[in-house]
């Protein structure tokens, strides 16, 4: 297998409902990634697009072929990946594999979503379609509901009183907004307080509005190249050194592990093993904070803190820049926004920018190795990637 590098990245600003189409958003992000890579659209040999909902949001299936045409790609193979919120991470993993295999030298991978455009009731319905339509949706389960169920399990399993746990979770959201305020691409660029979290409406007990990421529109894109090409195209190629992906069925079927998500632990193990690295080697992570409790669960499963202890670590500031592990300096899904199909490669965007030292006041100084973590559904899909400086 050949070494594969990210040679260019792009993303739109993440926003609430806006007027551009999923194809337009993707093309904006893609052209920025293409320009950074010092290539032309015609140099791209294949397109991989993460998108979950364009069929319903815009009545558009095959959004990737229209994106390829709009960009002026040369009739290249174009595939779409649907893994709910992890769609573009699954696309990224496969795109890397295709280049590593030698089949292609330069490919474009990214994601696009116009979820905010749908409005909250329809978006809530269609997001819930990523849970089990046979055995979960009939009960009225929503995505906040999934993580609300996990919150109560977490509180019980680790004997952390709910009131205490909720303060730890609120601190996760406060941290996300602190960094979001420093990210020009973020949907929410304002800091929040503990009171803001506790005064927000109840969405799914015990999760309140500020425990939850927003519905968002946006896109992100990455150009990948084999090592030989990457060295010619970029002074700062970022190598993909580890990848993992695993799946699970519905929440009840995961009973032996909950509130841990077994797919994450399997995926992370694959990524660390492929990279020959361990959690202590990671300088910065963009992880899937769809809900505040999700961050605590992820931090433990990824090996950064002991089980049941990540909330205390968050309270001690260990997940902020300068702490043990810099978590979500982009503002994460909570503050940067979560246009679901675009989220995975937007995490890659942030890690690449961090490793290149281009993040201004949210820069993790001297970051050399970064990681991404993306979750789709009730832990149905979890993907991880580890990226390292190539200079």
């Amino acid at each position: 297998m050949r070494k594969v590098a990210v040679v260019g990245v792009g993303m739109t600003k993440f926003t609430g409902a806006q007027s551009k189409t999923a194809v337009e958003l993707f093309a904006e992000a893609a052209m920025d990634a293409i320009a950074e890579s010092n290539i032309k659209p015609r140099d791209i040999q294949a397109l991989f697009v993460g998108n979950a909902l364009s069929d319903i949001a815009e009545g558009q299936a095959q959004v990737q072929v229209f994106a390829a045409d709009y960009l002026g790609l040369d009739h290249v193979p174009a595939n779409r990946y649907e893994n709910a919120c992890a769609s573009s991470s699954a696309a990224f993993r496969d795109a890397v594999m295709w280049v590593a295999s030698g089949a292609f030298d330069i490919v474009l991978v990214g994601g696009t979503e116009t979820a905010a455009k749908m409005g909250t009731p329809l978006a809530t319905r269609t997001f819930a379609a990523a849970s089990d339509s046979r055995y979960e949706y009939p009960c009225g389960l929503t995505f906040p509901g999934v993580f609300a169920l996990l919150t109560h399990l977490y509180s019980r399993k680790y004997s952390i009183p709910l009131e205490r746990l909720k303060r730890q979770m609120a601190q996760v959201s406060i941290n996300s907004h602190y960094y979001g305020a420093r990210n020009p691409k973020a949907q929410f660029r304002k800091e929040i307080t503990m009171d803001d979290v506790f005064n927000s409406i109840m969405v799914a007990q015990p999760l309140q509005l500020y425990d939850c990421c927003p519905f968002s529109d946006g896109a992100s894109a990455v150009v990948l190249a084999c090592e030989e090409k990457a060295k010619k195209l970029s002074d700062k190629p970022v190598y993909v050194v580890g990848l993992g992906q695993a799946s699970s069925g519905n929440l009840a079927s995961q009973k032996d592990y909950l509130p841990r998500l077994i797919a994450r632990e399997l995926s992370a193990k694959q990524a660390y093993s492929m990279a020959g690295l361990s959690p202590k080697d990671i300088d910065v992570i963009e992880l899937h904070d769809c809900f505040s409790i999700a961050t605590l669960i992820a931090l433990e499963s990824l090996g950064f803190f002991e089980f049941g202890k990540s909330g205390e670590a968050v309270e001690r500031g260990e997940t902020k820049i300068g702490g043990k592990i810099a978590v979500n300096p982009s503002g994460g899904l909570k503050a940067k926004g979560h246009p679901i199909g675009a989220t995975g490669t937007a995490q890659v965007y942030e890690i690449v920018k961090q490793l290149r030292g281009e993040c201004g006041e949210r820069q993790v100084e001297g970051a050399k190795i970064g990681m991404t973590d993306t979750l789709g559904g009730d832990g149905g899909t979890i993907c991880n990637a580890i990226l390292a400086r190539g200079w």
Partner: protein
């Protein structure tokens, strides 16, 4: 390969408050809802059995922001129940004030009934789900 218990057969039984599962002839584990292989050993020698429909609440949430088309149902309680036979099953909890439910509900004994979701433009027709109620 033939299914021992289809989604439709499982659903039709639940509509009569009968909870069906699959007992593995190789390892003895109970699989519910149905799968084509045993949830423990992936064996295929499965026999349809009727379960007790009784169990213990493991976790819950009260949904205040519902999906499109289910506004009239909110707020409502979703629970994960550990059945006496071992597997966990998701359902709703009836007979309680949804706004008053707290973590004290965890560990309470419940028995299964059912409720119908009439379906919407995305679902393939009507669907049935477990509606649990507290045991006396």
């Amino acid at each position: 390969m033939e299914h021992k218990l289809t989604f439709k057969e499982y659903s039709e039984a639940l509509k009569e408050d009968r909870l069906l599962g699959l007992k593995c002839q190789e390892c003895g584990a109970i699989t519910v809802p149905p799968r084509i292989t045993c949830s423990k050993c992936q064996g295929t020698e499965l026999e349809v059995v009727q379960l007790s429909g009784k169990g213990t609440i493991q976790t819950f949430t009260t949904i205040y922001v519902p999906p499109e088309g289910r506004e009239a149902e909110a707020p409502y309680v979703v629970v994960l129940v550990e059945l006496d036979e071992g597997p966990w099953l998701m359902g709703n909890l009836g007979g309680v004030d949804p706004t008053k439910v707290t973590m004290d509900i965890i560990g309470k004994r419940v028995k299964v009934g059912h409720a119908i979701f009439p379906g919407d433009k995305f679902s393939a027709g009507e669907l049935v789900r477990p509606l649990f109620s507290l045991e006396d």
